[in-house]
């Protein structure tokens, strides 16, 4: 399989290089770089949304959870899709109509405050830099587990290849590359699952086996409280995730955005069902792996035929790359567009902003590598924690702010800072001190953010009428 993998990888990298080069020649302005000239259609847009959210957490973490805990973890997808539906109904169309380039743009304009936009930019850069740690760590572990490559080497290779196509073509190249990545993910999984079913001789015997091994594997491993907490973390984070929201700006119009979300849910449903199958059937094929996080990699290498196995491994790497790419676009824009362009050099030219953006992408890609080498936690844990923080500081200003005209700049700043602090404090102390309550940090963070947003907004002067017109009139 070694030679086949490198051939498949070579073809994939060639395709990436081709798309990046094509995009380079079509990227002239900041709108081209950050919003693909607002030309993305529903199919590519849906695939982009799916690829952006499907990360190492899905291929490594989610498959591992199914391997370990069985079917019930799949219910977390309901939270994810609820988040998409909230986004489709109350967030995406308004943001697309607004037509900005970044989410802090929206915050600054909606609340008539550059300070609120700046705070949003800083929180985005910090939280997504942490998120990159999980992605690089997963990439390093896969490369180490399958090929014996040192994690640092693998991480630098991921940084180099991802940063290259991000730098060259911005959102345009990443959109078409993520479309290709989604096709690879779905194609490889759609073929892998029937192969696994063939290997285990159907579905009935494996399900009986898993049930006898531990009835919770086919029933309720997680209780309702746990599933609700996970669902809230993922769902609220999806509804307000800046790296997803910025993708709406690149689509043609509001109708395209809604259709793209429907396409995205379709892709994710297929991927979710397949990942469930991968986790469960790998438990039957290899019942005692040293770590559940190895389930997909071992299955791809040991069970699947060479081309399918190689494609699945490439899909896993591409899932990491697409998420890294999306995060780099958001954090790079946070530094260049929202901080440098607004506070440091407001008179900077378009060309200079794109250059600063590209430099920021390189720097922000390298910083998390050091943290990833320290192994601060397991991949899925970092992904879940990051989702909790995003939901805690961004859900209320974005979703409530888009639908409640009385929200003010002071309310938004209090909601972002308070939600972030409450989530962090509960993670550090409250979760242990009040463990009998069974309340998760994301619930505390979002509730605090909401209370502060409403209370402080009520106590302060409303945003200027002209600032609200584009969102509410």
């Amino acid at each position: 399989m070694g030679a086949t993998f490198f051939i498949v990888l070579g073809l994939y990298v060639a395709a990436l290089a081709g798309i990046a080069a094509w995009s380079w020649f079509r990227t002239r302005t900041e709108v081209d770089f950050l919003a693909a000239g607002r030309s993305i259609g529903p199919v590519v847009g849906g695939a982009v949304l799916a690829a952006t959210q499907i990360s190492a957490g899905t291929f490594v973490g989610t498959a591992g959870r199914h391997y370990l805990a069985g079917v019930s973890w799949a219910l977390v997808w309901l939270g994810v899709w609820a988040g998409w539906i909230v986004s489709a109904l109350w967030v995406a169309p308004k943001l697309r109509r607004f037509g900005a380039l970044t989410v802090p743009d929206y915050v600054a304009v909606r609340f008539g405050s550059r300070a609120a936009g700046g705070l949003a930019g800083i929180l985005i850069v910090v939280s997504y830099t942490i998120y990159l740690v999980a992605q690089f760590q997963a990439g390093g572990e896969i490369a180490l587990a399958v090929f014996g490559i040192r994690p640092l080497t693998a991480m630098l290779l991921i940084v180099a290849s991802t940063a290259l196509y991000t730098l060259l073509g911005g959102v345009r190249s990443s959109s078409y590359i993520e479309f290709l990545q989604t096709l690879i993910m779905v194609g490889a999984l759609l073929v892998a699952v029937p192969v696994l079913i063939y290997r285990v001789g159907g579905l009935a015997a494996p399900l009986r086996y898993l049930h006898s091994l531990d009835p919770r594997l086919t029933g309720w491993f997680y209780g309702p409280k746990d599933l609700i907490a996970f669902g809230i973390a993922f769902g609220l984070a999806i509804a307000a995730a800046p790296y997803e929201l910025t993708r709406f700006y690149s689509m043609r119009d509001e109708k395209t955005v809604r259709r793209a979300i429907a396409v995205c849910i379709g892709f994710q449903a297929v991927i979710g069902v397949c990942i469930l199958g991968v986790g469960l059937l790998t438990r039957v094929l290899f019942p005692i792996l040293p770590s559940e996080d190895q389930a997909t990699a071992v299955m791809a290498f040991e069970v699947l035929p060479p081309v399918v196995g190689s494609l699945l491994l490439v899909a896993m790497l591409s899932a990491i790359m697409s998420t890294v790419n999306s995060v780099l676009l958001v954090t790079g824009a946070g530094v260049a567009h929202d901080l440098y362009g607004k506070f440091v050099r407001p008179d900077a030219s378009e060309r200079r902003l794109v250059t600063v953006n590209r430099i920021a992408i390189v720097v922000l890609a390298l910083v998390p590598v050091w943290f990833a080498l320290q192994k601060l936690g397991d991949v899925q844990a970092i992904v879940v924690e990051q989702s909790k923080f995003i939901a805690s500081f961004f859900f209320v200003p974005v979703v409530v702010g888009l639908n409640w005209r009385r929200g003010t700049a002071a309310g938004a700043i209090a909601a972002m800072a308070g939600g972030f602090a409450a989530c962090l404090a509960w993670e550090l102390t409250g979760q242990t001190a009040f463990s009998r309550l069974g309340i998760d940090a994301v619930e505390v963070g979002v509730a605090t953010s909401l209370v502060l947003f409403v209370a402080v907004s009520r106590l302060t002067r409303p945003a200027p009428r002209e600032a609200l017109a584009i969102f509410f009139d």
């Binding site: 180490l144 892998a192 015997a205």
Partner: protein
């Protein structure tokens, strides 16, 4: 694949036990660390086929536990398929009871076989060094033998590279070893040998002479589905472009650069 086995040693130090607990206060830490349990370090499985019977001899080595593995009973489970009968012939643990004149009892549950090798009853208990030990089980599978169940212990594996060996003797003539699970190679002396990175739950030996192997079909399938996906998208894009062109630029927002 050797790299896979060798490198997997890293997670062992912190690898939690297979018995998971539901998420509670620490929702993301779904497993309780169990440093006391020995890990499966190696296994050698020999399968001899004869007609509708497969005779299996499985030898296991454990490492990493805080107490001698033979001090406690050892439970092993296997994947159970319809149309199969399974009879244990002999089994025991190093440092544990030898099982006496009777073979260990096999319990049949829906989809699952379970066998327990007794612990510490004999005078040998405690003689093995803490953290190391072995076990052996011999059994016969009768009836349908296209998938031969392998008993696996409840503990996780300890990956140190090339520890699992499966040998099949008297395999059907014409069987393509690479189409079996796990992947086998002929040893040149009439036996098939597999060295998977992890211990599988069963061995699958597809019938010989199938016109198209599942691997080839799957590889072709994925290539075709990718081409179909790309082709479908290209057609859709062409049709969209042929129609009336929608506004490629969205309404300008108040942002300086999008204006």
């Amino acid at each position: 694949m050797a790299a896979l086995a060798a490198s997997a040693a890293a997670p062992v130090a912190t690898a939690p036990a297979l018995e998971a607990r539901p998420a509670g206060a620490e929702a993301t830490a779904i497993q309780a660390p169990d440093r006391d349990s020995a890990r499966l370090a190696a296994a050698r499985i020999t399968i001899v086929l004869a007609g509708d019977t497969a005779r299996v001899e499985a030898m296991y080595r454990f490492a990493g536990g805080a107490s001698p593995p033979g001090a406690r009973p050892l439970d092993l489970t296997a994947f159970r398929l319809r149309g199969q009968r399974l009879e244990a012939e002999a089994g025991g643990q190093e440092g544990g009871a030898d099982g006496g004149p009777h073979p260990p009892a096999v319990t049949g549950l829906p989809g699952l076989w379970r066998v327990r090798l007794a612990g510490e009853a004999s005078g040998a208990a405690g003689e093995t060094e803490a953290g190391t030990g072995g076990a052996e089980l011999r059994y016969r599978v009768v009836g349908r033998i296209d998938r031969i169940p392998l008993f696996v212990p409840a503990s996780r594996t300890l990956s140190t590279g090339g520890r699992f060996t499966i040998v099949v003797r008297n395999a059907p003539r014409g069987l393509d070893p690479s189409s079996a699970f796990p992947r086998f190679e002929s040893d040149g002396e009439g036996a098939l040998v597999a060295r998977p990175s992890e211990l599988p739950g069963f061995v699958q030996l597809p019938r010989a002479g199938a016109p198209l192997g599942v691997g080839t079909a799957a590889d072709a399938g994925v290539a075709l589905s990718l081409l179909a996906g790309l082709g479908g998208w290209a057609l859709l894009r062409r049709r969209t472009r042929a129609g009336p062109r929608r506004g490629a630029s969205g309404p300008a927002g108040p942002s300086r650069s999008s204006a």
